[in-house]
């Protein structure tokens, strides 16, 4: 199956924008955080697809793929994978903090609706 890199990019953009739309229109804090997660997923897809080579092998040597040499290099770019690994973990961290804060805020207001979280208190 031929998948264009560009197609992958566009898919990731669409997911990203869905996330953005969700993050700025949702009233529920949890949903906002979920939207942020969606954004992160989109990013991961995008980053991976910058290194995706159609029809190539995964960048792991194993008994099936014994060698790589300058002349016959048929693996996808491993560096974006590393980046994505980092990005995932960072996303996890951010989400964890976000959930912690949300719990805290829920404890204060007893609601997750951002509109009901007193715009003007403690001005």
């Amino acid at each position: 199956m031929m998948i264009d890199n560009r197609t992958l990019y566009i898919y990731s953009f669409i997911i990203f924008l869905i996330g953005i739309y969700g993050a700025i229109t949702n009233r529920n804090l949890i949903k906002i955080l979920v939207s942020l997660s969606i954004i992160e997923t989109a990013l991961n897809i995008f980053l991976v697809s910058t290194g995706y080579i159609n029809g190539s092998n995964p960048p792991i040597l194993h008994s099936g793929m014994k060698l790589i040499s300058p002349n016959s290099i048929n693996i996808s770019d491993p560096l974006p994978h590393a980046l994505v690994l980092t990005a995932i973990v960072i996303g996890v961290g951010t989400t964890a903090i976000g959930i912690g804060l949300t719990i805290k805020l829920y404890n204060h207001y007893k609601t997750l609706n951002v509109n009901r979280m007193g715009d003007k208190d403690e001005l």
Partner: protein, 275 residues
Amino acid sequence: MRESDFNVGKFFAFLFVLILFLFMLSPLFEEGDGAKIDKNLSDIKNRVSYFHSLKSVKEIERILSDNNDFSKYREITDSAKTVIFGESKDLENGTANLVTSIVLDYRGFDTLGELIVLFISILGLTIILSTLSFAKFEEPSFLQITGVKFVTPFMILVGIYIFLHGHLSPGGGFPAGAIIATATLFSLIGCKFNYRVSNLKFIESNAGFFVILLATLGLYFTGSFFGNYLPTGIVGKLYSSSLILIIYSLVGLKVGAELSVGIKTLYNGEKDDDR
């Protein structure tokens, strides 16, 4: 009072998103001079990761430092070495998983940062939730208890396997940590296994400490932070690339402990531990 639906806001949000989408498409479909992002990547020869994949960075450096211009490395792609699984030895690093070589060797500093992000966010979670304690889950059923008791040791075993084989196969410390944390989650909700957060913290901090220590020792042994001062061995063997193996194991432990702390904190609030 019924809340307004914020339709105008939604409309404009949609508009923004549309504009962003069109904008983001523009570099993909543009025609004109200059380098563009590849529509269809064919090989990685003009990227730095090419040299990472072939584990021949030192080689290229030697060549480049003769004419003293590192920005022209793309012109000498042919002088890279060949890496053979199970045969090549004493390379820069001995991982068969090329991603791991990048994650822990070439870009180890990023991974350090990544570890810290995880560490600090879990730490932050404990700080933020430290004044809270909230209601417990309902009592687990018999099925749950039995299932968990059966599954959890295997999960921990799998986790350990994965981080030990991080340099050979897909996976590594992070997924392994996640699996271990899942196991603790299971044990937490399944059989009320009430582990102490401070113990986990101790593991976590010590693991982190040793990771940095190992990396800093590189400064002493090789003159460079994160420098590899242990023998790299033969590509494809378990005991190849010893430093990576150690670090990945520590990472696995650390991540597992960290995520477990996070789960415990979210589950009970941190205060619960001290009661």
